[in-house]
């Protein structure tokens, strides 16, 4: 059994173990979940380091067009259509798997106090994460889509059962919109399969078989919208604010932190599979995502509910991911992937913190908070770091992503693209406005509510995830080289495809 | 010979068929509706026989099939009448328009 299968199977095994444990053994259930995610975290770190080691001897970007798949596990699986159990990772997947492992580990830590129907909660949570790992590891489109749906659906119960506020409504909306997106994806996958005519769902095989440009012209937006829905693409982002606002802590962390990345990841694969379509539609999606970025930030300024603020900031930040991808420029796409990683960490951090603060103050409205630094300095500092990462402060991961996307997008040689880039870059100001607004509102100033004076700072179990996330944000922000190497190497095939398509489209 | 031709039979069966359909649609009494159904079935049976007789006298299928139709129609009628009786016990009438407790 390969490493990837192990990573995917461990949470699934944990699900079975948890299902078999009696309801009352809450502590045991949590330990099983923690152990499973801990092992996965370890394995993913090993994977990361090993992959870095693997590619360290290989030539850098621009020179390599070979697919950088590693850890391949390939078995014939279902039927005569050529569905395979085909796992394999490139650098981007490795990074995403690592992110997933980190976030779920932190999520389990952040849910340590979970008491209501613990067993089902952790079972669904781990089921979900199985799907996420699977998506990032899969190289067969069918398998990819299968895991994709596995990752999306448990969310319904997780939000609907353990959420707050109008949770049934939010859960339904989220699920339906995302499944609506996946309806587009399944069309896309089938069309790709039959147009490629290679009798295999393997992404690289399909990418090599040229899909007719006329097909790509209509199929590309369909698939991009499909994945974009999960990636928070405007105007299909509205599941995100309601969904995230209603979801319990760990679920928000995982959903905003990792699941929205599935959207970006899928969009990247779409570009890989349909380069000509991407060239035709790139600008269109850049416009949409500009709306995303700018508009998400502006709306976030208005909100007073912390989760809504964070959700809209996710819309804005994930817009940057899709924007970077839409540019079809190597630098910007690198930035987009870094943004996936950075945003995953920072949103997970945000939602973890919101959960902890809500657990203490019992309010999520920033208008009802103030001066919390006095009572919870640790949480405050962590929140600040997260906020600074959000507004793209250098030294934290968000900056790397932003500057790469901007530089890459600016290199597109037309006024329209430049203007879009300038607009997007201008969002750093609006972002700063809302982030500072809520940071100062919550933590600065005199203690708003005398009741809050009795509150306590983070406990040890809470500090663990926060510390991990903060550390990673800072580490990735200060030493981006390894990420760039991973991404650059794995983007090479995509860029090669695009280059080929560009040449093919020249008269 | 100036006897009836295939067309006569076909037109007659088509008429039967249409009368059956019309009856199904307009009769409110369930038993009348059942009778209309029988008309439809008989129209089909008549067709088979007519075709057999005029066009394919060598193929026995056309002759056999109506017998099956008649047999099955009898079974169906038996079942239907049994159900009508059960229904009548509940609602004391056989008006199809008022048998609408299941809907929506």
């Amino acid at each position: 059994m390969g490493l990837l299968t192990t990573i995917i199977l461990i949470p699934l095994l944990a699900v079975f173990v948890i299902v078999l444990l009696p309801d009352r053994q809450k502590q045991a259930i949590k330990w099983v979940a923690l152990a499973a995610t801990g092992i996965d975290l370890g394995l993913s770190i090993y994977l990361l380091v090993d992959y870095l080691h693997l590619i360290s001897g290989l030539p850098g970007s621009g020179t390599s067009t070979a697919l950088s798949l590693q850890y391949v596990e390939r078995h014939v699986w279902l039927g005569r259509l050529g569905i395979e159990y085909f796992l394999g990772v490139d650098g981007i997947s490795v990074l995403m798997i690592f992110l997933t492992a980190v976030v779920i580990f932190c999520g389990v830590c952040a849910s340590w106090k979970h008491e209501y129907r613990t067993k089902e909660f952790f079972a669904f949570l781990l089921l979900l994460v199985t799907g996420v790992f699977g998506v990032f590891a899969a190289h067969d489109l069918f398998l990819f889509f299968l895991f994709y749906e596995v990752a999306v659906l448990p969310m319904y119960v997780l939000i609907g059962l353990w959420g707050t506020g109008p949770k049934e409504y939010s859960a339904m909306k989220l699920t339906l919109m995302l499944m609506g997106g996946s309806a587009l994806i399944v069309v896309g996958i089938l069309v790709l399969y039959f147009q490629a005519g290679v009798g295999s769902f393997s992404m690289s095989a399909i990418a090599q078989a040229k899909i007719p440009a006329s097909t790509q012209a209509w199929l590309f937006p369909i698939m991009f919208f499909g994945f974009g829905t999960l990636g928070g693409l405007w105007p299909f982002h509205t599941w995100s604010p309601d969904g995230h606002a209603s979801a319990p802590t760990a679920v928000s962390m995982l959903h905003a932190g990792v699941l929205m990345k599935l959207g970006g990841y899928g969009c990247l694969k779409t570009i890989y599979l349909m380069p000509e379509g991407a060239l035709m539609w790139g600008t269109f999606f850049m416009v949409l995502t500009t709306v995303n970025i700018f508009y998400g930030a502006l709306v976030a300024i208005q909100k007073t509910d912390l989760k809504y603020i964070t959700a809209y900031s996710s819309v804005s930040h994930c817009g940057l991911v899709l924007f970077g991808l839409g540019t079809l420029n190597a630098t910007a796409m690198q930035g987009a992937v870094v943004q996936m990683f950075a945003h995953g960490l920072m949103t997970a951090l945000f939602f973890a913190l919101i959960g902890m603060i809500y657990g203490r103050t019992h309010t999520r409205y920033i208008t009802e908070m103030g001066g919390l630094f006095k009572v919870m300095p640790f949480l405050g500092v962590a929140y600040m770091v997260g906020g600074f990462a959000g507004l793209g402060l250098p030294g934290l991961a968000g900056f790397i992503a932003e500057v790469q996307v901007f530089i890459g997008a600016f290199a597109l040689n037309s006024i329209g693209h430049r203007l879009l880039t300038i607009l997007v870059a201008a969002s750093v100001v609006t972002t700063a406005v809302y982030i500072l607004r809520f940071l100062t509102r919550m933590f600065y100033g005199p203690l708003q509510n005398p009741e809050h004076a009795k509150l306590t700072d983070a406990t040890f179990v809470e500090r663990v995830p926060l510390t991990i996330l903060v550390f990673l944000l800072a580490f990735a922000g200060m030493f981006p080289g390894w990420m760039i190497r991973l991404i650059e190497y794995s983007l090479a095939p995509v860029m090669a495809n695009l280059e080929q398509a560009r040449r093919a489209m020249l008269p | 010979m100036n006897g009836p031709t295939l067309e006569h039979y076909l037109v007659f069966s088509a008429l039967l068929f249409c009368i059956g359909l019309y009856g199904m649609l307009t009769r409110r009494n369930l038993i009348a509706m059942l009778m209309s159904v029988e008309l439809v079935l008989n129209a089909a049976a008549l067709n088979f026989v007519a075709f057999h007789h005029f066009l394919f006298p060598g193929d026995s299928g056309g002759a056999v099939f109506p017998i099956f139709i008649i047999a099955v129609a009898a079974a169906e009628a038996a079942v239907a009448l049994a159900i009508f009786i059960a229904l009548f016990r509940h609602q004391q009438h056989l008006d199809v328009q008022q048998s609408d407790s299941l809907k929506g």
């Binding site: 599941w239 508009y295 900056f399 607004r437 | 409110r28």
Partner: protein, 675 residues
């Protein structure tokens, strides 16, 4: 590698404060105040030692060269575009290293006394270390990307330090304002960076400022606006510089930034961070100098700010605000000096750097002196001070030296640097700028001595406070004394010998220029003396006589209000709020509408299941008929028209059914029904 240990290990200079920050912030903080400040100061000492050593080695062995002793590839954007991190050594970076390490060290020491007993004492020192790290990183930046990175970091440390008293609402809004305004300006910097990354295809300063690159940029015509890339990118970068150096109209954050503790004001908002803008322009000087519009922009903005701030400073009563406006004015001076410099006559460059250095000393001294005063009387309002010279002798003496320096009285340092700026203006024929600068010099002397007299002379206004006032502890006063030395003497250093672009013709003091400057300065002092030496009603009467203008000036020309209106009312209420509404009601509404329409159509379709068998049969037959039509169409190639007719029939029946439903009469073919 230069073979000189200090230069080769210059990266230690920012590293020490960074380690100090981490150590103090994460490890030492719980141990208490004393260890925290000790570690922080030790970090600064180490940093200063390396900095001074490197500067010494540089000016003795490599003067005039530009070295990059250490750099590494930090972020690779593409195989050709690389963002390097490293250390750039040339005259101005060494100069700034000297200034920053020294002043920062002194202020660390000073803060030991000033911050004693504050609950956030360790936090303060860790932030100070963080700031110093960022500032040194900025100063030593070898690429414009690195500059931008540390640029933002100093911004954030400034934010943290302004908001040090986070429980105080005014401090909170001040730090927010500082951050957002500079962030807004940084957008310009960022865009400039983007332009450079694209048009110049490189980010290293050595590459960017090389004549070839500058020439190439000047040749590149943008596809829009019809200008070349050079002035536009230079002006965009200047936007960032203007934000950080609080040039008009981005100056509004600096006076409010005085909400921070006084050492912070001295270090960040007087001596070091605010000059980063000037430093940036100086760093990119070849680019600016090669582009007429850019350099003129720098000059005019600088000149206007110098005047504008000086005028406002005259009317302020908060001791730190006066100093803040004075800082603004002096920063305008420096910008102005850079603006009048050209590649041929680069005296302004030297003058600007010179003034930067002297200003760092005397303004730090002024702020620290003010801090000492505030420490003594616990108020910022000059109207509640007076007569403090007897209570605070050391503070008074050093403060006077600093005032004389800033007023441009020889032989104090300010005189020389200011004189050089005036000379530079004249040299390049900017007589109007010269006149304006001269006027500002007079105003400067006036408001500084207004401050001085109101604080130290005059009469004690608030006896309670006066009574409790006492000289500050040794750790503070010693720093004042130490700073007074360069304040007085720095002017005597042959500055142009060390820091210059191009060749400077060595000249002494041109008394034709210096003479009027001195006179104007003295005149300013004299007026201040008359109005404020003794308490009298004259200033109030003057203020009353010009009450309209006075009020406008006192309220800073209502620029804050303008900003507030734009941000709060226009953007928040008329941009952001409608977006919010649009998102919730239109975009989200559309999504809900989809679900609703599914539900609604389900509800109406449900009506077809009437429970009447005959309805069902009718549907089935019509269905068969329509199917026959459809299939017929496929083969007869009569087009889809009939199909649509068929579908139309279905729709019609549908509608009919629906109407019947509405009328509660759902029997089909009711009119035929007679039995």
């Amino acid at each position: 590698m230069t073979g000189h240990w200090f230069i080769d290990h210059l990266w230690l200079v920012p590293l020490f404060p960074f380690l100090g920050f981490l150590l103090v912030g994460l490890v030492i903080r719980p141990l208490g105040d004393r260890p925290s400040s000790t570690v922080a100061i030790l970090a600064m000492v180490a940093s200063a030692v390396v900095g001074w050593g490197a500067a010494f080695q540089y000016f003795t062995h490599h003067a005039g060269e530009t070295l990059v002793p250490w750099q590494y590839e930090w972020l690779r954007f593409s195989p050709t575009l690389v963002g390097n991190m490293g250390v750039l050594v040339d005259d101005i970076s060494m100069l700034l290293v000297l200034v920053v390490t020294t002043i920062s060290l002194l202020i660390h020491v000073y803060s030991q006394g000033y911050m004693r007993g504050d609950p956030g004492y360790p936090r303060f020192f860790s932030f100070l270390n963080l700031f110093t790290f960022s500032m040194l990183g900025l100063v030593l930046a070898c690429s414009v990307l690195q500059m931008f990175i540390f640029w933002e970091l100093v911004g954030v440390s400034s934010f943290l330090l302004i908001g040090f008293y986070w429980a105080k609402p005014s401090a909170v809004s001040a730090c927010k304002k500082a951050f957002i305004v500079t962030r807004f300006a940084d957008l310009g910097f960022l865009l400039g960076l983007l332009m450079l990354s694209y048009y110049a295809k490189g980010l290293d300063f050595t590459f960017l400022t090389s004549p070839e690159t500058v020439a190439k940029l000047a040749r590149t015509t943008l596809p829009f606006l019809g200008v070349s890339a050079l002035p536009l990118s230079a002006i965009l970068i200047f936007c960032g510089a203007a934000g950080k150096s609080a040039m008009f109209p981005l100056h509004i954050w600096l006076p409010d930034a005085m909400e921070g503790p006084t050492p912070v004001s001295a270090l960040i908002h007087a001596a070091t961070m605010v000059v980063a803008g000037v430093y940036l322009v100086a760093r990119m000087f070849p680019m600016f100098a090669a582009s007429e519009p850019a350099i003129l922009t720098v000059m005019s903005i600088g000149a206007f700010t110098a005047l504008f701030a000086a005028v406002i400073a005259v009317t302020q009563f908060d001791i730190k605000r006066v100093l803040a406006y004075s800082t603004l004015s002096q920063l305008g001076y420096m910008m102005l000096a850079l603006g009048v410099a050209t590649l041929d006559k680069p005296l302004g460059f030297t003058a600007s750097m010179f003034h930067l250095t002297t200003h760092a000393c005397f303004k730090a001294l002024l702020f620290l002196g003010a801090g000492s005063v505030i420490h003594a009387v616990h108020t910022n309002d000059m109207r509640e001070m007076g007569g403090l010279r007897r209570k605070l002798p050391i503070t008074h003496a050093t403060f006077l030296i600093a005032c004389l320096a800033i007023a441009g009285v020889p032989p104090f340092s300010g005189f020389f640097s200011k004189d050089e700026i005036l000379a530079a203006a004249v040299e390049n024929g900017h007589y109007f700028v010269f006149a304006l600068a001269l006027g500002v010099a007079g105003l400067t002397a006036f408001y500084m001595f207004r401050l001085y007299f109101m604080t130290f002379w005059s009469e004690p206004q608030d006896h309670e406070k006066y009574h409790h006032a006492h000289e500050s502890p040794w750790s503070m006063t010693s720093v004042l004394i130490v700073l007074a030395v360069p304040t007085a003497l720095l002017g005597l250093v042959p500055f142009g010998h060390y820091v210059h672009r191009g060749e400077l013709e060595h000249h002494g003091i041109n008394w034709l220029i210096a003479g009027p400057a001195i006179l104007v300065g003295l005149a300013g002092i004299a007026v201040a003396f008359m109005l404020y030496f003794r308490p009298n009603g004259l200033p109030d009467r003057i203020a009353f006589a010009f009450s309209g203008i006075y009020r406008v000036i006192r309220d800073k020309f209502y620029i804050d209000e303008l900003y507030l209106f734009v941000t709060h009312h226009v953007i928040f209420r008329y941009v952001s709020a409608p977006f919010n509404w649009f998102d919730r009601h239109c975009v989200d509404g559309l999504m809900d509408l989809t679900a609703q329409s599914a539900l609604l159509s389900g509800r109406s379709l449900r009506r077809t299941v009437t429970g009447h068998l005959q309805t069902y049969l009718l549907w089935a037959w019509l269905g068969s008929a329509v199917l026959a039509l459809v299939v017929w169409q496929m083969q007869a190639a009569l087009g889809w028209a009939l199909t649509f007719v068929g579908l139309g029939i279905i729709a019609g029946i549908f509608a009919w059914q629906w109407v019947l439903q509405l009328l509660n009469r759902s029997e089909p073919l009711k009119r035929i029904e007679k039995d």
